[in-house]
Symmetry: C2
Subunit: 337 residues, 2 copies
Amino acid sequence: MVTIADVARHAGVSPSTVSYVLSGKRAISAATRERVEASIKALGYHPHAGARALASSRANVVALVLPLRTDMHVPILLQIAMAIVTAARGHDHDVLLLTNDEGVEGLHRVTRSALVDAVVVMDVELHDPRVPVLRELGLPSVLIGFPADSAGLTCVDLDFAAAAGMCVDHLADLGHTAVALVGPPAGVLERGTGFARRTVAGFEEAAARRGLRAVVRSCEPSHEAVQATAKELVAEHPEVTGLVVHNEPAVPPLLQALRELDVAVPRDMSVVALGPKELAAQVTPAPAMVPIPAEEMGRRAVELLMDKLNGRDVPDATLIPPSLLPGHSTAPPPSRT
Amino acid sequence: MVTIADVARHAGVSPSTVSYVLSGKRAISAATRERVEASIKALGYHPHAGARALASSRANVVALVLPLRTDMHVPILLQIAMAIVTAARGHDHDVLLLTNDEGVEGLHRVTRSALVDAVVVMDVELHDPRVPVLRELGLPSVLIGFPADSAGLTCVDLDFAAAAGMCVDHLADLGHTAVALVGPPAGVLERGTGFARRTVAGFEEAAARRGLRAVVRSCEPSHEAVQATAKELVAEHPEVTGLVVHNEPAVPPLLQALRELDVAVPRDMSVVALGPKELAAQVTPAPAMVPIPAEEMGRRAVELLMDKLNGRDVPDATLIPPSLLPGHSTAPPPSRT
DNA sequence: GTGAAAGCGCTAACAG
DNA sequence: CTGTTAGCGCTTTCAC
């Protein structure tokens, strides 16, 4: 193995000088710096991570706690996770992947053993058992999502309430007067997943503000369930001419179901989706949508973490403002004749 | 921080004794062991990962290289990744997550810096640039998937050829005489993804062996493409009464398309799917399928890695035998009257 | 602007 | 069966 001493010898300097060239923690003459950097390259030197962690008490690794639930939309989860890895690398950190089945104990372990020096927790629930642990962990953490009590925690998420409101506003602006929300499976709501509730709240609030009639439905992602929901909505709420869909896998079968019911999109029914932007390419007509900014969520989470690691103050809540991507799935409501 | 010296003092023994209790590398009297373990628990001691790595030159961390391509079925990727984490934890190892956009350089970095002591590479292509690097890395690695030249490498994968063959045999056993394979998007094949090609080969080989007429189609996952494929197959190959689908997201729209074409499943058309077993619960009729054993793939990969880390010999190729899960999507072909 | 040297916490000889 | 001790490779005072 190539050590810092090898580099020092090769460059004709002391090990500490090599260390300082690497860390930039003190001024080095240009000549020395160049010699050292040349030696580093020539020898293919990479500092030993363990030794560095031991001496500096900084592992330069962040933990990513990633629960795997079947009712979450997995591609988004992975997109966020990968964005976190990429962003962390940009700050010279690596990412250790933790599942939740080791439980809260896993957090204690990687923390106490100084394997990591910060933690990102994904898919946070309202009453998440990991939250109290984070508070007492004594090292920086960022949550993706909001628990019921987020006091003293740093949380990042899309502003789902505003996103739902934006969808409603879009429909209201087009002249719709009755709208429905097709939400995630009931289980997601019951489990107390914050974003699902915030979407519902934002939807209802915006509808009230705009004076629209509003209907809310949960929906399992199976083809049958979606079909049934569509049929019900059309039958029981013929006044509804605009749909907000916050349930990624339901979008293709929903459009299909509407087609079968002879409800043309967007002529008879406008549809706005809340989901990964890839969705737009997968169905016809390409839906108007509020994309879930996975990359930005990951990046912001890491930036907050780095700020905390560097002793900077950070805001408790980071709500990423939504944006509406135009599509071909919305139009003014059919005129009542 | 609680150190090994603190534990030693608390238990009235030397630090090395604590170390040996932890590692089990030499005999310890029951009395001493108990005292030490009690102290460890009492103080909440966790060995410092960096210090341990430095002294033992074993980081107890494996790298997981996870490319994120949109044309791969993401949920399966994540299932395998999580299985790897769980399995690694069972062997007292953690998992460092690497993306591929740091490139091959990332492998060098985590390896040279002794951040990890083994590597798992997922979603291997036939001519994968990571493969030559793995050969020269000088530390244990396992690939999930097979490159074109797997000599000297340790690879794990589902036996896709056998899986496709199993699907064909199932259809042949029911009396079908003409079958079609609806495969993944053309891009996956062109990119040289091994498993896609092995499925096609296994499909054709089995069809030939059983004397069946065989048709092969690539298919994009979009609703329209699937619909077009279904229409084409039915129109151009009316003799085909059995479908093997190796394209997870295409299954729901394919069944839907068949319904629209008045082709009843399984009365007029039998369908066997190759994909995650969760698929069975999502569509009606629940398809007969060969599930992709994500958990087993992850577990086997880690077991092989641990064997290599412990100097044991391991087989080059591990092909996991497929199994056929019964469903309600297959039946004898309609009798020609 | 640079060097010398004292640890960081642990493992693994070596010694008994 | 247990203790003593010399590093592992790096960072960071302290000294010049």
